[in-house]
Amino acid sequence: MISRRDFFKILLGALFTPLLGGILFTLPRKKVVRPPGAVKEDLFLKICIRCGLCIEACFKEGRGTLEPCGILDGIALIGTPKVNPLRAPCEALYGKCEGKLPCVKACPTGALKWVEPHEIKIGSVEWYPRRCIAVLRGGCLVCAEVCPVPGAIVPKGRIPTFNSNKCIGCGRCVTACPAHPKALKLTPKGERRAS
């Protein structure tokens, strides 16, 4: 027979992993920019097996913009892929990966689904005028120069204006922004998820 002490020891051990994991899932989490073709965030967290194959494919066949989420993004997101424009821009549209989407092809679980090029919109950029060189000193329009989407960044006079409806969130402008700290930030605002 099992003594009561042993039984509670066994019970504590057995309940430890599921309960700790369950508690960690309820902790606050950030909104990160997902790779193109990601299903809705809720379903994404349920299906993504956090294997990192999309990150590997992005490095090998794409530009290498994807990286795994860390603790700072929220513990519930650990290991899931996010787009980091500080590494490289996402070239799912107008660039290296157009019509190929290696991250989507690499996904073994269907958390990333094939999307037609014109439907890709992984987020949009946010502009911080107080850091922007064009506002502070003038002469810089790098973001407008590198932007591949017609009408997303339009220079008005000597200052860029941002149209978040047209922006697809590729992050080229964030990568190129010479200000320090960057005057542009990629956010998942306005993202279009695969159904």
Binding site: P18, I49, I55, E56, A76, G110
Partner: protein
């Protein structure tokens, strides 16, 4: 063979597996690591990872099921060989924790409770809860990040936190608390690779002291055989040469002998 040699071989097998994953990923023959391993389009998904995700099971393809079936058959035939020889966390735990809890009651109850609660919590919440704290998954992602030219510093920090937590709370992580170990224990009820005791046994308990899980193989209990990780240390230390690794025929009548 000495125990120290066995430990060295164990370290070597883990390192070889990790190098194997790294090179296969770099030269693009196969992809993936511990979490999922893609071998010519057949994905071998971690069974715990798959079973925690009802939405993934609904959407699973035939190749995924073939991979799962092969994995389960391997576990049923070989038992917990993965735990004994390929798990990167098991080897770390056995290094840092020399005094494992002596499990007087080698019960598989813990495995049942652990798995049932895990699946209950993850199916009701809808989220794969163990994957957040899975130390093997963290190692797997560090490998994949290294292949992708990323030094996964947050993965390493999180891995260290989880590992210290495990070490502080449990001396018997491998003994039914780790869901992967629990699943493999429950599946190895009819495993073929077994350690058998013959009449030379002098009941000196040396095998129990050498066993990382403190199993009493000489008592010929089935639960001990199921929990055995086939690390072979008991065979190496037995002074009477009473233990032997044998292939157990599933239909043989004299079980556990």
């Amino acid at each position: 063979m000495k125990i120290s040699t066995l430990i060295k071989i164990n370290v070597l097998t883990v390192i070889i597996l990790i190098i194997f994953y790294l090179t296969l990923n770099i030269i693009d023959i196969a992809k993936g690591s511990y979490c999922i391993f893609l071998l010519s389009e057949i994905p071998f998904i971690c069974p715990i990872g798959l079973l925690q995700r009802p939405d993934l099971i609904k959407a699973s393809t035939y190749s995924m099921l073939i991979g799962l079936a092969i994995t389960l058959i391997l576990i049923i035939v070989l038992g917990r060989v993965f735990c004994g020889w390929l798990c990167p966390i098991g080897i770390l735990i056995r290094f840092t924790n020399k005094k494992a809890r002596s499990s007087e009651h080698s019960s598989i109850l813990a495995c049942f409770i652990s798995l049932i609660t895990l699946f209950f919590v993850s199916w009701t919440l809808g989220y794969p809860v163990f994957c957040l704290i899975c130390p093997i998954g963290i190692v797997s992602r560090i490998i994949i990040s290294a292949v992708s030219g990323i030094f996964d510093i947050w993965g390493i920090i999180w891995g260290a936190i989880i590992f210290l937590l495990i070490m502080a709370m449990f001396t018997d992580w491998c003994d039914g608390i780790c869901p992967l170990g629990a699943l493999q224990t429950l599946l190895s009820f009819m495993k073929i690779v077994r350690i058998k005791v013959n009449d030379n046994c002098i009941k000196c308990n040396a095998c129990m002291k050498a066993c990382p899980l403190r199993l009493k193989i000489y008592q010929k209990r089935k639960t001990d055989q199921m929990k055995c990780i086939v690390c072979l240390r008991c065979i190496a230390i037995c002074p009477a040469k009473a233990l032997k690794l044998t292939l157990h025929h599933p239909s043989s009548s004299n079980r556990n002998k």
